[in-house]
Subunit: 420 residues, 2 copies
């Protein structure tokens, strides 16, 4: 089954913005055996959008339209699709009531323009939006379907998963797709691919995608087969080989490292604190992005200045003077001081130079010392991360979490660079 | 003048890849006063591509096609565009000679399939490609033009700059585009749009885009006029009215709030510290995402647990017991304790319930108390933010930064909800 995606929004036609929803949607559709054959971006222009909808529906059985469902005048998706289908927009008082209730709960009064969001195309089913005000819409036309989804990814994704996926499953021709994911830390993307590509390239009905974020690689295996047993057997066969190659660099079958580490801590009734210099809150932000992280995360110190390293985390002034703030002794002292002052089972510390300024020949931009202190003692390592400020910070936070994972599980430490 | 861009390549329809050439091309075209009105991504499918080319040429005077000019069978752009235009492909021996020469200089023999790249559409001008083998093509049709460009950015960009830009300058009607941006905090998107849309809708040659992130709205005005003076006058006229309506909710003409607040602090030689409970590092992460933030950011406390609020930031145990951790007195004590312990000029504190768990009837999910302590004293406010965990945290961090901006500039405080 073929699908087309239209992203609506004049901002997506500027030099600054891309439609990224279509990537996520494509992955979801592919998993059902649905191929995306064309993507379009159209501005907030009712006529143009209506024309595009007509063109797509003349050739493809499934159209997804994202964006343009907001309350303002330039949100034209409802009107344009109704026009293309030759249908009316129908006011739904129950949707309006839900939107009003949402505002009331927040102690606010709904603006009059939000009424626009209570209109559905004739014959459409409303797709509930627990996160925002705009409901989605599902419209079935003989053997075709049109789906309207809100633009913000935080609204689009749960709506698609909860309400569109089940409907598509019911209409997409049966092809069994089974997937397996490995999340991997402590290896570069090119290195990983060089090692595992000789394995996955041997299989025709397997597609493999390697997605890399700083310090964090996802290997997605996708088997498309006639039946479930065949698909599972294929994943088993390939997965076995990949696991043998990557070993303990594989940290989870899907969940991010902050979730995995959180679960390890919770299982052991252990607690965690952090001291962050160059990551400036990023490490704690990732840890606390996990609901329920208060079960194990106590808090810690943001030690951006030398004074904070000394006064807050208790790093001896002499260490700072002798070795400088970006050094192994200071990383150790940060971790140990944080552990002592918070009473946490484990403490992670990061001190480094995220750039673009501040590097020296001995300690270039991208240098970071990471330390973990725990009941078994303290270990620290020097790393050199490549890339801009954002990448260096992301690498440092990810690698710190991986050091903690290895410590808790009793795995060998990640090789860092020897201290200079 | 309107333009459309078609990116060709099946790899651009996978979940991993985006067409980014169109961003650069859009910036180039906009600078000439040419608007991009639709973007499309089409796979290596000759029929589909030919159909899309026909559709575009029926409605727009300029079409740019990127990619699909390589030597292999799945490079279908030449054939598809020729078919759409009803023209033949013509072999050019001088182009073949140039390609062969290129291979010879590299000490290699040209593969036979590269002959395909020596074909131009009847009537096309070849656009030289000093970086790769595929020439581009420029085809003039009465009052329309079609441009074929290679997909690799390193080939596309110099070819566009050297050979397409001068040709477009000769045919594009002289039109000047000038833009103005307002970044706005402390107002909901729907509320903002309801207030300013009566203004911007009155102007035909102005396009307005409203982009909303949690607590952070960008209003982009774009004036398309005959000359620069007219464009600037239009922006001035509309901008004046929008500024009068939004007042001190406008915080900057483009830079994000963490950059603006950083500059305000730096100008005043003031320093900042934070104490974060529900935002868990997000506020500090945003502040320290700005290069050079060590000029004013000292650090602070991650106070996820009650114990951390007490031991690290010095919140009296009696306050925590009496009012609970998510309360105005605790927010104040966090800000004041952090300011005292770090010696910073200003301290921001956030304590709240990001959810999904932890809410009560009196303190539902999304409730946050934000406080700012400074030389002028301490103020705290209760807010109720809507959305999931990520949104609540993003709203809280943004609103805390806005409280600090207002404090430093001596502006009235943002109205929060009255403490219950």
């Amino acid at each position: 089954m073929d699908a087309e995606i239209i992203a609506v929004g004049s901002e997506l036609l500027t030099p600054e913005r891309l439609d990224t929803n279509s990537l996520w949607l494509t992955a979801q559709l592919n998993a059902l055996g649905i191929e995306v054959v064309t993507k379009m971006v159209i501005g907030d222009d009712r006529e143009r959008l209506a024309q595009a909808v007509r063109t797509v529906l003349a050739r493809s059985p499934l159209l997804l339209v994202t964006g343009g469902l907001g309350p303002t005048e330039d949100d034209v998706t409802r009107e344009a699709v109704a026009e293309a289908l030759g249908r009316e927009l129908v006011f739904h008082p129950e949707i309006l009531a839900a939107i009003e209730e949402r505002f009331r709960r927040a102690g606010r009064v709904m603006a009059e323009i939000n009424r626009r969001q209570a209109f559905l195309i004739e014959g459409a089913e409303a797709l509930p939006n627990p996160v925002g005000t705009a409901p989605g819409q599902w419209i079935r036309l003989d053997d075709r379907a049109v789906v309207l989804l809100p633009g913000p990814p935080g609204e689009l994704k749960p709506m698609f998963t909860d309400h569109v996926l089940p409907r598509l499953r019911a209409i997409a021709p049966p092809l069994v797709i089974r997937t397996r994911t490995y999340r991997v830390a402590g290896i570069a993307e090119s290195d990983l691919d060089q090692r595992i590509s000789p394995v996955y390239k041997r299989y025709a009905n397997l597609s493999t995608t390697v997605l890399a974020a700083p310090g964090d690689i996802q290997v997605h295996l996708r088997a498309r087969c006639q039946d479930e047993r065949e698909a599972e057997a294929l994943l088993q066969e390939v997965g076995h080989q990949i696991e043998a190659i990557l070993g303990d660099r594989i940290y989870s079958p899907g969940e991010p490292l902050e979730v995995l580490v959180g679960n390890l801590l919770r299982q052991r009734r252990a607690t965690l604190a952090v001291a962050e210099s160059c990551t400036g809150g990023l490490l704690a932000e990732r840890i606390t992005s996990v609901p329920g992280s208060s079960d194990y995360f106590l808090g810690g110190f943001l030690v951006y200045s030398n004074q904070a390293k000394r006064d807050l985390a208790g790093v001896p002034a002499s260490l700072l003077e002798e070795h400088g703030p970006v050094s192994e002794p200071v990383a150790r002292a940060l971790a140990e001081g944080t552990r002592a002052r918070t009473g946490a089972s484990y403490a992670l510390a990061v001190t480094g130079i995220a750039g673009p300024g501040g590097g020296t020949e001995a300690t270039p931009v991208g240098t970071a010392y990471l330390a973990v202190a725990g009941p078994e003692g303290t270990s620290a390592r020097r790393f050199r991360f490549l890339g801009d400020r954002e990448r260096v910070r992301a690498f440092a936070a990810q690698t710190a979490l991986d050091m903690l994972r290895r410590r808790i599980l009793g795995l060998p430490e990640i090789p860092g660079l020897a201290p200079s």
